[in-house]
Amino acid sequence: MRTSPTPIRRALAAAAGAAMALGLLAACGSDGESGGDADTAEDFDFSCPERTDGEPAADAARNDSQPFVFGTPGDPTSLDPILASDGETFRVNRQVFDTLLDADCTDTVPGLAESYEQNEEGTEWTFHLREGVTFHDGQALDGAAVCKNFERWANFKAGYQSPNFTYYYSSVFGGFAENDPAMGIEAESIYKGCAADGLDVTISLSKYTSSFPGAFTLESLSIISPASIDAVADAAIPTADSPLPEYTQTVGTLAGTGPYKLESWDHSSQEVVLTRNDEYFGEPAKVKTVIFKTISDETARRQALEAGDIHGYDLAAPADAQSLLDAGYQVPVRGVFNLLYLAYTQSHAPLEDHAVREALSYAIDRERIVNSVLPAGGMVATQFMPPSLEGYSEDVATYDYDAEKAKQMLADAGAEDLSITFCYPTDVTRPYMPAPKDIFDMISSDLQAAGVTVEAKPITWVDYIPTTRSGECPLYLLGWTGDFADPYNFLGTWFATESTEWGFDNQEVFDAIATANTEPDQATRVDLWKTANEAVMEELPGLPISSSPPSIAFAPDVYPPDVSPLTREDFSQVYFTTGS
Amino acid sequence: MALLEVEDLRVAFGASTAVDGVSFSVPEGKVVGLVGESGCGKSVTSLAIMGLLPKRRNGRPAPVTASRPVTVEAADGGTVAAPTGPPPSATAVAPVLRRRGSGADVSGRAVFDGTDLLSLAPAAMRRRRGKDLAMVFQDPLSSLNPVVPIGRQITEVLERHRGLKGDKASKEAANLLDRVGIPDPTRRLKEYPHQLSGGMRQRVLIAIAVACNPRLLIADEPTTALDVTIQAQILELLKDLVEAEGTALLMITHDLGVVAGICDEVNVLYSGRVVESAPVRELFAAPTHPYTVGLLGSIPRLDLPIHEPLTPIRGSIADVIRWHDGCAFAPRCDRVAAPCVAGEPALVGAVHAHRCVMAEEVA
């Protein structure tokens, strides 16, 4: 058994940050030419950009008296992290609870565990916890506390097992100790057990997957105090559509270890108030009170910031970024960790013809999309994963915009009067796709320029996934934001096996992914993922369009937190500055 | 000098003239009738005297309003021209008067007890209305505010002009109701107009009008909307009040029977002018103007032999020409001749005056 203590790397801040890229874009934008000098993967290191704003002086008095108000696009749903799968809930819980491992940029860094080790098969994970960590309720963190959390999750019953509530747990661990057939969870749990020894704790699995160790950074798997677990032991979720138990809706029941404590959650005001945890094990939070307030309307969020009602907000529209910057607001650029693609569903003729797919790929001017409608800092994607992940290959086949070539190829393939249905979602903004309709408009305009007749098929978001999954749409736009640093989180969910959503059967691709996913050794794994990427791009099941960071904005007099490609901002870093 | 002297009263709504130089007088304690068909200007005259016509705003010509429809109906049933507007009933003119946004041009004089009412400031006129001169309207239901108890509707006038308040006013209101013949007046004070019968309502209206013992009472078709037995009651009441108080009454009606029963003097109006005026007995005994003659011939009477054919006036009141072109009645007149359209006919005669150039022929 080869136990290799994995050194936890600090993220290396790259020289050419996207903040600089912003300036570059602004400079070259004035000539009005299409982004001939646009930034491609080669020009950038897609690690997280280094901060260039220094550390302005803090306004100590204000930090204590003035709450920091952050506008969020939606309400959180649950104060129990394990019962949530949405970003708005995570944003709140991340300030209050900690996970065993943390992510900085996309790298895995220490969390509650200072270090960890794994066995060679990747089935035993031992974490060495920090000393002196106490929960908000005064209890001390130890291995037993961690085990109590894992045991609680593994033994969830009834409605707790529904993917409605515990999507991430069952995604990572497959199932529960006793699967409830009524909840439809059938896969066997790969969680075998947890052993605690003082501050050391070992999680045993029956099978390795490449989700580990990244999965230990998932907010869902936050560690709560043992007393909290006892307190909520009786709270039941009898069915999948039961309301969430009361304790998930009111503050004060669950205790975490994070830099902030929950102060209140006013549902009618859509307001969550956090106060500083003075016993925090790390650097204490700068601002005493942080308030998350929901403003679902994109424009309203910007206006609230401009009017000074809030001090920052997430999911700034790409169109607003420049005006905000011009007005002195801060729009730090996140690293990219998502992917937008155009799928070619091969069950629809003539998309099963590689030449047609290739032709269509040449027809699309992805640079224009990236340069015009996506947030600054985005890039044209060459493969089905963002560049910051292991296994990103520089050697994949690329399909650069060439309208003439596309026309020619279509003619050669006998598809010059191709008419094709193209689906896109209507009522949604996704982090990887801020304005689906704009992107659709641009692509369909390009396709039409190449002689393809596009039949638009808008679908509402709730129906969009099932429709595209079923293979009804020959062309469609979709994407994904990674949960943690794991190539399988991208490639695996799409190309592990034959599926109606892609409609192709290429065993070479499937095998490449399966091999990479189950390889515990990192170096080998990286190469295997590169191979897989190359195979996928050779098959060309769809055209990766872009990886682009969702924008976040802050007031001028605020020192913003380090922005994260995973949108895991740590608000304890925020403070009000004296300047400006 | 009579109590009220109306001289050359003219009322125009935009381009159409409703009253075209009416003169008459109401002596103290007398009942004077103003009689004519719908559209002849009798209601407008009374409203002008009361100052209840909307004033025209300065410098802004009122929009052209609908006026009486014109139909030319020859004796042989020949040509027909075009009316629109309200049907010629007794109420038809009133809405025209009340249209806001336009207004009436009123000229001439209405001297009441030495004061020209037409030249009074609105506030001064308001102080006199309801006190020195009061009015009773045609439709007793619509003339009472449906959402205010009748007691309040009476006391507000006592409050305004006689300074009575609270219990005193209520007591006086009850007295008034008693005086106009409403049984159980104290209970009635709390009731709303819809709870009373038509006759009762008209009594209430009369009570309001006589609340301040006015010297002149104007009654505009006070019995037209009532049944004949109730009409008799109301006429009786009016007569009694006039006799008891010495109030002068200007009675406006289209019903010659009513005129014969209650009036001392009569003015017959046609198309905005007095065409004949006389003491009541003289008028009925010797009608001079062909219009008066025609009216009398149109009415079926109970006291004449049955089935005697009527002699109607031909055409309709819409068939008129302008007075300054000649006699407005000429198109309907059986005796029309060249002089009739040679220019304005003058009102001739003193006690029994008429406006017919062919009067000798008729007589």
């Binding site: 874009l25 602004a26 934008g29 009005g32 030419e33 994109e298 424009t299 401009e306 790409p318 169109a319 607003d320 970024a321 420049q322 005006s323 340069n371 015009s372 409608v373 996506l374 947030p375 600054a376 209507t426 009522d427 309709k437 704009d438 659709f440 408009d441 641009m442 305009s445 638009a456 098929k457 808008p458 509402t460 709730v462 129906d463 | 929009p63 429809p69 014109v70 030319v72 021209a81 075009a82 629109t84 309200p86 809405p95 025209v96 249209r99 806001r100 068939d319 008129v320 020409i321 302008r322 072109d325 000649g326 000429a330 198109p331 029309v336 001749a337 060249a338 009739c340 359209v341 062919m358």
Partner: protein
């Protein structure tokens, strides 16, 4: 002296009568005549006239293809670069590099289409329901009255359902599209039309001329169709004019909610406005052009409708 038909008298009568001649004609013609004096009606009619003109000739006079992203590479919405008015593009470019002026002109037709079709749906269906209810209530005896009560109670409850939710359901059923907007807005107006027509018909049903028709022996169906209905349509037609305005505005609201017209090939003001709402800070002109278009047009229809209502309203007419 006998009747003397004097020449002068005839002339005088004629002179008096001609002044009134303008007041003949059918009720509609009279209303139109009355409206010609109303500044509201004139303003409304001029706006609506211009709008319809643009809607009709728009596609032929638009300088460019409104859907072509001809200048697509000159627009950078993430950097707030939206070329404004310039000689070749009078209103500048939209966020995808299309000619705003052409889009505005061509969009008028789509906008009119949305308004007209939505109104038509509401009108036809509402009039049908209201007509059935009124006819049943008037001539259907006790059972007819019950049917009427049931229908009208349902209409009452339907009135309580916000249009937005109705639209949402329609969109969920049909998918977001221009058709959805038309149907949703139209369906939402059904109860209003139904109530209006029913009320209007019941009022007419109690009129003397209906009694006269029965007395003549006119069959019931014919009474409804040829007597009651034509006389009841006035307020409904007025409402239709007002609904046209509402439809145009509501269509914009639905677009704002993402339920609107998703077809990139067409230009429709509501969709354009909803789209441009995103660029309000960087490129307000993109929102302002369609907003002005919508507001002015809606105002035009509303003024016209209000003026018509006033001119048809017998109570107000009485005061003339």
């Amino acid at each position: 002296m006998t009747i003397a038909k004097i020449e002068k008298l005839d002339r005088l009568i004629e002179a008096t009568a001609t002044a009134r001649d303008a007041r003949t004609g059918s009720l509609w013609r009279q209303s139109i005549r009355r409206m010609r004096r109303s500044p509201m009606a004139i303003t409304g009619a001029v706006i609506v006239g211009l709008f319809v003109l643009v809607a009709v000739v728009g596609p032929w006079v638009a300088p460019y293809d409104p859907t072509a992203q001809t200048w697509g590479r000159e627009v950078f919405l993430n950097r707030n670069i939206f070329p404004g008015p310039r000689p070749e593009n009078w209103f500048g470019l939209d966020h995808l590099g299309r000619d705003m002026f052409s889009r505005m002109i061509v969009g008028a037709r789509q906008t009119l289409l949305v308004g007209v079709v939505a109104t038509f749906i509401g009108f036809i269906a509402g009039a049908f329901i209201g007509g059935i209810a009124a006819a049943a209530g008037t001539f259907g005896g006790r059972w007819g009255e019950r049917l009427e009560a049931v229908i009208m109670r349902a209409v009452d409850v339907a009135l309580a359902i916000p249009m937005l939710l109705l639209a949402l359901s329609v969109a969920a059923l049909l998918g977001p599209s221009l058709r959805t907007v038309m149907i949703a807005v139209g369906v939402a107006q059904i109860p209003i039309f139904a109530r209006l027509l029913r009320g209007s018909m019941l009022a007419q049903a109690h009129s003397d001329y209906v009694l006269a028709a029965i007395a003549i022996g006119v069959p019931k169906g014919r009474i409804v169709v040829s007597h009651i209905l034509p006389n009841s349509l006035g307020p409904v037609i007025v409402q239709a004019t007002l609904v046209l305005a509402t439809a145009i505005i509501e269509a914009a609201a639905l677009s704002y909610l993402g339920l609107g017209n998703p077809d990139p090939g067409s230009a429709e003001w509501g969709t354009m406005l909803a789209d441009a709402q995103r660029f309000l800070s960087g490129a307000p002109q993109l929102a302002i052009y369609p907003a002005i278009g919508i507001i002015v047009t809606a105002l035009g229809f509303t003024l016209l409708g209000e003026a018509m209502r006033e001119s048809l309203d017998p109570r107000l007419r009485r005061q003339e």
